[in-house]
Symmetry: C2
Subunit: 200 residues, 2 copies
């Protein structure tokens, strides 16, 4: 009995350790996002400690001064969803992928090149400056049964501190591009080498 | 007694969970790198699941065709060292920071701009392609008492699979730039907004 009792505690702690402080509800061990009663998603805790998968960069200077997503996109997958991806090569129901936008680091005008790059000791290029937005996509074919692939898209705004909750965008505002151009299940895996390398 | 016993087990499990399968040796809970008997560092396990801190990009096309560090630099800090940083704003003895180099994703020549950028559905910019190198720096003022700040620098090479072990570079080959230009304790924190935001 005592040994069973301790085993149960250990298992619970290990699950809690993987999933953070939130209860794991999905049958396959994937931690799901939290939602308010009126269906808004809650901002994830500690998304910057999720598994980084890639950092596309669309500088404002190369996009007529106003990139659709300015400028670095730091993209992360929630760790339990990454574990599932590594095992199966599939984005499980419950998968959360966050995209934090980061402006290119500025210098004095006379040190900025026309393409937005600057010279640092490691070479000419682009370096991360200020955070400027947080977005999230959640795959849940039950909750979002109307959305293509079950993916819903959210933004916590473009000023810090970010909003604590977010409503889902209308499907067509995000998913059209994802459906047309994303390599796998509405996710741009072609830009995320960490995902490609981890796929079984 | 029983409650103490269980508490001890729980604490051990939690520490093991944080540190992976390696024993935590540093007094302050920071997981140290592993070394061979002849002083080479062993390649870390799962560095892509460490805490991502920033992704400088120095495209070859903006660096006379040959950037010193081609091209994206995906930089990570080992999680227990990050926990220490969040508490103290200091890089603890034992801190490990990894830099994985990733080439810009190529397209057909007629779709590549002179600056190395390409157009994708999210805009014109740079997207991550193939992994091309792994480097590591370790702070250990006991093991590397001769090195400025106690930091030693290693490379696991530029072809995959990476080497399993690496010798330290001569101090001057890396640390001169770090000493001259890095914002805090030989680390380029000015390019790592995740570290700046987490600093107490």
């Amino acid at each position: 009995m005592r040994s069973n009792f301790i085993t149960t505690i250990l298992a619970s702690v290990l699950i809690a350790g993987v999933a953070g402080t939130t209860i794991v509800r999905a049958a396959d061990g994937v931690k799901e996002a939290e939602f308010t009663d009126d269906g808004q998603v809650m901002i994830p805790a500690e998304w910057r400690q999720w598994v980084f998968i890639g950092a596309p960069l669309t500088p404002n200077a190369l996009n007529d001064g106003k990139a659709p997503f300015p400028e670095f996109h730091n993209v992360y997958i929630e760790p339990t969803a990454f574990t599932h991806w590594k095992k199966t090569g599939i984005f499980a129901n419950g998968t959360q992928i966050a995209k934090e936008l980061v402006l290119v680091r500025k210098k004095d005008k006379d040190e900025m090149n026309a393409d937005g790059s600057t010279a640092e000791v490691s070479g000419v290029g682009y370096f991360q400056g200020e955070f400027t937005g947080l977005e999230l996509t959640v795959k849940d074919t039950r909750r979002f049964s109307e959305e293509p692939g079950g993916w819903a898209y959210f933004s916590f705004g473009h000023t810090l501190p970010y909003a604590k909750t977010a409503k889902a965008f209308p499907a067509e505002s995000c998913n059209n591009c994802h459906e047309a151009a994303a390599a796998e299940d509405f996710v741009f895996t072609q830009f995320y080498p960490v995902l490609s390398a981890a796929k079984p």
